[in-house]
Symmetry: C2
Subunit: 445 residues, 2 copies
């Protein structure tokens, strides 16, 4: 029985452990933190996650989607909260399509539980990875409870230890020609909250992702099962206004009252939350290669951390597991071949979703409130409905399809050029739903 070491018992590590145990591997998963199921460990910076088709597929493939569905809340579209005027609902896709709000902590606890039902998965906590010796199959850990170092031997090593991966640091320090890029956007984020309505239930529309788009920044809210919403303020670190200029409870209150007026009455602990919760940064990580010595690979955020604006971080990490699992079949457990094809196949796609995630921030915080953008989306939606075989909008390709991300990105660029031509037509506002435009798009698409 082959032994596997997984570094990091997060979402991707937990899912991977289930996949590998089902194939008969003996999996030991080492987690830096304590067991989050035994203690309240919220650190006030969990963006709620949006599970979508790629994530669901990975869960279905291993037979655990139904368990997850019980804790997931469908969001059928964006609910836009403009500064003035009425709410606007923008569906994400067709009638039954939705993305699903899940709590990162809740889902992680559930997946650890599922993993541990398999006798071949063992999770060991408080283990900080301090180094690897891939040639010898050794992973070194510092046991924070016992205050001592130890080494673990295994046949395979997976580093699913997140955006600040110790496994990746090992690659950086020991692999010649390791390309590595980590970059931050100028915005940070802060978790805030809308509690359940006093009468119980959700204070605003439950089945939507709420956005307060304000050009350079935005507030969002995702529903939780208990009636509350987890809110996230995406806001510049510096400049006017920014995290650096809101220094007192009065300033925060004033700012929110003038900029997010309909949210303030829903947020009784706004100023307390604002000052109690940390301001977290948003990193993108790209690197290559992911694997070493045919025995070890990075996976999930450790290989490709994304900013959260396309809701694809977890979905992309879960899709890693789907892709890897197919390659295990294809190469009949020839791991050097699996790792080589995994990184070669997956890298263009994870680069593409990283770039799409950055680009979608501009869409969410700014364009969703722009009349031109809304008209563009209306034209696209009409065309998609009439000619579904000709046109799948970029958001749908990423969210509701399994098309490789790089292909979705290329197709999105092609569509954008067509839409630029359409939008440049004279008097497009009046003619947008004409047969003429339909014909023009058919010719171009």
């Amino acid at each position: 029985m082959k032994k596997v070491t997984i570094i990091g018992a997060g979402l991707v590590g937990s899912l991977l452990s289930i996949y590998l145990a089902k194939r008969g591997y003996k999996v030991n998963m080492y987690e830096r933190r304590g067991d989050m199921r035994k203690a309240e460990m919220s650190v006030g910076r969990s963006i709620n996650l949006a599970l979508s088709d790629r994530g669901w597929k990975a869960l279905e493939r291993i037979g655990i989607a139904d368990q997850v569905r019980k804790v997931a809340i469908p969001m059928h579209g964006r609910m836009i909260h403009p500064l003035e005027g009425d709410l606007v609902f923008q569906p994400y896709g067709k009638d039954k399509q939705a993305i699903y709000s899940v709590s990162r902590g809740g889902l992680n606890r559930l997946m650890m539980d599922i993993a541990e039902t398999n006798p071949d998965v063992n999770i060991i906590f408080n283990q900080r990875c301090t180094g690897l010796n891939v040639a010898e199959g050794l992973t070194h850990f510092y046991d924070e409870e016992k205050d001592k170092e130890h080494a673990v031997h295994s046949d395979l090593i997976f580093a699913s230890d997140g955006a600040f991966s110790a496994g990746r640091l090992h690659m950086q320090l020991t692999t010649d020609r390791f390309d590595y890029n980590q970059y931050y956007i100028e915005h940070g984020y802060k978790e805030l909250t809308i509690p359940a309505a006093p009468s119980g239930g959700w204070a605003i529309e439950k089945n939507a992702l709420h956005i307060w788009p304000r050009g350079k920044y935005m507030l969002i809210a995702l529903p939780n099962e208990d009636g509350s919403f987890t809110c996230t303020l995406f806001f510049p670190f510096e400049g006017e206004p920014s995290f650096s200029t809101l220094k007192t409870p009065e300033q925060v209150k004033e700012f929110f009252k003038s900029i997010f007026p309909d949210a303030v009455p829903l947020m009784p602990t706004l100023t307390e939350d604002y000052f109690a919760n940390p301001t977290a940064s948003l990193v993108t990580v790209k690197c290559f290669p992911w694997s070493a010595g045919g025995k070890m690979t990075l996976i999930g955020d450790a290989a490709h951390a994304l900013v959260p604006f396309f809701g694809q971080g977890m979905n992309c990490g879960f899709e890693d597991c789907t892709v890897l699992d197919k390659l295990i079949d294809k190469h009949s457990e020839n791991w050097p071949a699996i790792f080589k094809e995994f990184e070669a196949n997956r890298k263009p796609d994870t680069d593409a979703i990283a770039d799409l995630a950055i680009a979608n921030f501009v869409e969410m915080r700014d364009k969703v409130a722009d009349p031109d953008f809304l008209l563009r989306k209306k034209i696209e939606a009409r065309f998609t409905n009439r000619h579904p075989e000709k046109w799948l909008p970029l958001y749908s390709m990423v969210t509701f399809s399994h098309m490789p991300y790089a292909q979705a990105l290329a197709e999105g660029v092609r569509q954008e050029k067509i839409m630029d031509k359409v939008m440049a037509m004279e008097n497009i506002e009046a003619r947008w739903d004409s047969e003429e435009i339909d014909k023009m798009m058919l010719d171009l698409a």
Copy 2:
């Protein structure tokens, strides 16, 4: 008297120590390796360096240029060795302009000697930096001779410890929102040698940088004082041909005979050198910020490692010292202000030279043998000679001026657009030196 710690006694560290000691700082410089002046330490992978105006200026400013001039060999242009036909000499600039070949090791030893003539500079060897505590002003070292860790306290810390800087690793691991990018090109390099002619002296033209451009790869040779040339083969790691395909002495010999036929008779130890010397990789590093806590900064390759194809790595690092020295005056030794302006001012320029260095590889290995490119250069040279106030070629802006690199890059892009128009003129081969072209360029420039 303020205490300074410099990590790394390479070229930039040594120069910086002289600058700081002259201002009355007490400088302790910690070097990871042993004292290269006491033992032969060539590792067979030193590209010879080409000192040019920016480097000279930094040496002149502190009064040590004359000492360096004694070991520097002027190279007035490129000597192109085509696969067939005669050698072609391409001057780098105007009559007296040259870049200067120096041995990295020789120059480093000389600069350590000069640094140590100052009683306030102390170089301590075999000290591997293992970490920093900037707030406390502590730098941690592992003393490889004494086999023990120790910490050094100082008022200021400079990390001039090269492309794989321990100081920068500290920044990466401890600084939130630290942007970091290291990337490799697909080529590696290998040091080879042309010894002095049997009769003494140089076997090929002494005062030139020799290039054997071959499209996807190239061989270069720079003169040494002892009559030998240090040659460097820049060659792909993979593909056909590449380092991975030349596996036996016979294959190497055959390849060189067919591709670099005039070089082979000059290289009696070709196959021995080829297999004895390592194949080294070529990294570019960009990062930000460079400084921490107003007390510490990265400088030189630690802040901005370049590929060697514009001959600017050392010159750029030396220019760092010029820029820093001016800021010390400007801010009257207010170090937090100095470090802040240093990184803000310098970052766009070091990014620009990093990109220019990558681009110049294509020029050196490919374009210098292309008739269109040569005509382009001839037109540029004619125009520069007639209107020196209107046009300084990109190579000259980088090599023979002190214009900020970012400005040189922007100006180069502007010039390239003009030259594209000129080269697109019908029958330009016949009309290139006409008054008409001159007038056209005057209008555009």
